[in-house]
Amino acid sequence: MTETVDTSTPLGRPIKRKEDAKLLHGRTNWTDNIQLPGTLHMAILRSPYAHAKITKLDVTPALSRPNVIAAYSAEELGDLNGSIPCVWPVTDDIVMPDFPALAKGKVRQVGDAVAVVLATDPVHAADALDAIEVDYEPLDAVVDMEAALAPGSALVHDDAGTNSCYVYNLGGGYDDVKAKADVVVKRRFINQRLIPAFMEPRSVVAAPMGMSDEMTVWSSTQIAHVLRVLMALVTGIPENNLRIIAPDVGGGFGGKLQLYREEVLATQLARKLGRPVKWTETRSEDMVATHHGRDQIQDIEIAATKDGKILGLKVDLIANMGAYLQIITPGIPLLGMFMYPAIYKMDAYDFKCTGVFTNTTPTDAYRGAGRPEATYAIERIVDELAAELDMDPMELREKNWIKHEEFPYTTVAGLTYDTGNYEAATAKAVDLFGMDELRAEQKRRRESGDPVQLGIGISTFTEMCGLAPSRTLGALKYVAGGWEHATIRMLPTGKVELITGTSPHGQGHETAWSQIAASILGIPVEDIEVVHGDTGRAPYGMDTYGSRSLAVGGQAIKKAADNLIEKARVIAAHQLECSPGDLEFVNGEFKVKGDPEKSQAIGAVAFEAFTAHNLPDGVEPTLQGEATVDPEDFSYPHGTHLAAMEVDTETGKVTLRKYVCVDDVGNQVNPMIVEGQVHGGLAQGIGQALYEGAFYDEDGLPLNANLSTYLIPAAPDLPSFITGTTTTPSTTHPLGTKGVGEAGAIASTPAIINGIVDALRPMGVTDVAMPATPMTVWKTIQAAKGGQA
């Protein structure tokens, strides 16, 4: 154990990031920067149709184009055309169609991969796609989810005989509590399709290292380790011969939590041709070929007494899988399943989800992954219930939320929340917001008939982070565990390698992990190199997603550091001629209790362990500590988010005037990084509420699959944010941390829409669709007025 934590520890301080120097100087190592001799550049012919038979496909004309070395369709690739796996078969009878890397005979989404060309430079590879002769026979496209489930619908996968992927049920008993309810409120919310739109386009370089079955793959991925396992299974390349490297990775947000067909194709073609193969997507390719997020129809019903006690909740989802199942496509709605009851006490909860195939880009994890959808629906319907009961929406929340003295609390969904203090976070947020003044202004504007109305949006959220206890994942039929690994290795000069299984792509792990280890080992942050995202240097890990890296990976670092100190203690005791129990470890030094003059610094111990000239019998040379930690439970960050929304009732224009959030993410390693994570999450959640949405026409053609028309927020679209924190340490995680990566994205969307609806409720508006563009808001107002929309 670490006996003393000095107050000068780097833990909890806003230390500037170690990552920034190279990023700010342009000395980065993005995958697309990698130029190996002899590289072949891959370009992909993609389907322009959502659903079609391929009636002719001849790649040979491309071979006569300049600089072209090879071209393949599925037929020519044969057995090398791997199938892309899904690792979360959520039910026993789930439909899991084949997902070939190159389409076989039929295309099922715009952007489906049809053929590849390999040339000595990317320009000629792309040029030669034109030479491929391909004919399609268009088929009826399945686009609308409900129509897809109706009898007689065209089928995305003929062999399945249905477009229903699975039906998942949880709970029961809602009807009993509904019978006792005074008030029942029911709504249908549309949680629209989003595109992750990380700034660095995906890129992969696969290079044979020696013979064809020894392969190094650089990829812009969040999951170097998971990718290695899956790549081995898909390609048959022995896992021990595969090295996956995620170099500098420019954002992910779940979009790079995937094994993509392009990664498989590059690897297989490098193997076949014995040369490095490189592929970097264009942005327009990205927006049809990288998985999307959200896209659920949410029917939600809440039952309560007339004095505002929530009795139960019923949720019936239709979740769009898209055309194929990617890595955890079917499981995303189930991550949300646990969170619909959120922070509220109730007696019954029924959940049903129907996964449905459509001729669209597959969905999968996007920042929050199921939990933003759940939080949106519950926080919206609680506001609607408050309106129905004519209660203040915050008062209704307070009446029903879990009180801080009631933790640990097992929810109706079966999760046990370890800690939380919703009262404290709310009180602080309300104070920072200036709630009373804003409510007074709202009243004035309503009374004066101001064309610009003011609304106040509330979101009191929690989420489950720290994916995940392995046994829980097993019970949910997820095929892997949720542990994390760390090795801390002291080098002879006293410097340290901290090897982590997390795989950062902008989060600042190099800085934060150094802070954790430095605080325990009593050494400078600068003396630590964090090694990550390379299966050759960091062999064990479960990577970065689901706000898990600190919550799970942080525990592993702490335990590895503690293990290292225990080994060092034995060596130090030998050097200092005392028993290990006589030593205390303070600020990087072992000191003999009662004789502070006798001490040995950890760096000196490391040197002794290196020379091994004078080690105690039975102690092995070298000084390192390792740990693989399976989390005891999820962690449950929470917070209160408040939005002041101005709505111009004449034009529909919405302005976010003020945004306040107070998040409780437990203990913080680096508050500067925490705040940055919150800011970025807010931008994405607000983006969903106001700007973003990926749409298709009735033929399944994407309407806005580029950055000109898919509107991610730009600087003028957002205000500065007012953020605060409360700290209720997690009791199931040794560092007391919870996770912060997704909080802002989860909490903010309902706050914004609740604010718009609050502004317009006196006009009879009870919902506004997302994204709440001026046109949508204006039409909603017109419809409420009974006019022509």
Binding site: K16, R17, E19, D20, A21, L23, L24, H25, G26, R27, T28, W30, D32, N33, V123, A197, F198, M199, E200, P201, D248, V249, G250, G251, F253, T282, R283, S284, H505, G506, Q507, G508, M672, I673, E675, G676, Q677, H679, G680, G681, L682, A683, Q684, N706, L707, S708, I712, P713, A714, A715, P716, L718, S720, F721, G744
Partner: protein
Amino acid sequence: MQHISVNVDGTQYEGEVEPRTLLVHWLRNELGKVGTVVGCDTSNCGACTILLNGRSVKSCSVLAVQADGASVTTIQGISTGDDWHPVQTAFKECHGLQCGYCTPGMVMSTIDLLGENPNPNETEIREGLEGNLCRCTGYHNIVRSVEKAAELMGGAK
């Protein structure tokens, strides 16, 4: 192929390019100036922003041949060795970057913005950086970074 002569980050380069070659691709693929990156294909993201004769441009929207005879400054040319330009310093101090992919463009646009307006207010900063998209920071700390850079460069009151 067409001959071009361009000064990039203080070095005079001669090259033969296809007329259709974008400046950003010439910088990255021929000169190895990989600090400048490509984020989109519709000239929306601004990740590829450089200075062309001292003014910011998106280098995906300029043909290499159009840069013939011009002077180009990339993120790799604004400071020497391990030195820091005040804008770089400000972005680090204010945590104005996370994944860092938009950062070269943000820094170059900020240099141009502060050249035009040494003491911008928040609205002017946000509008000045409208052509540069960031998906990580929500822009909050980018605005703080630009304010800080203005201060470091002597513009702030």
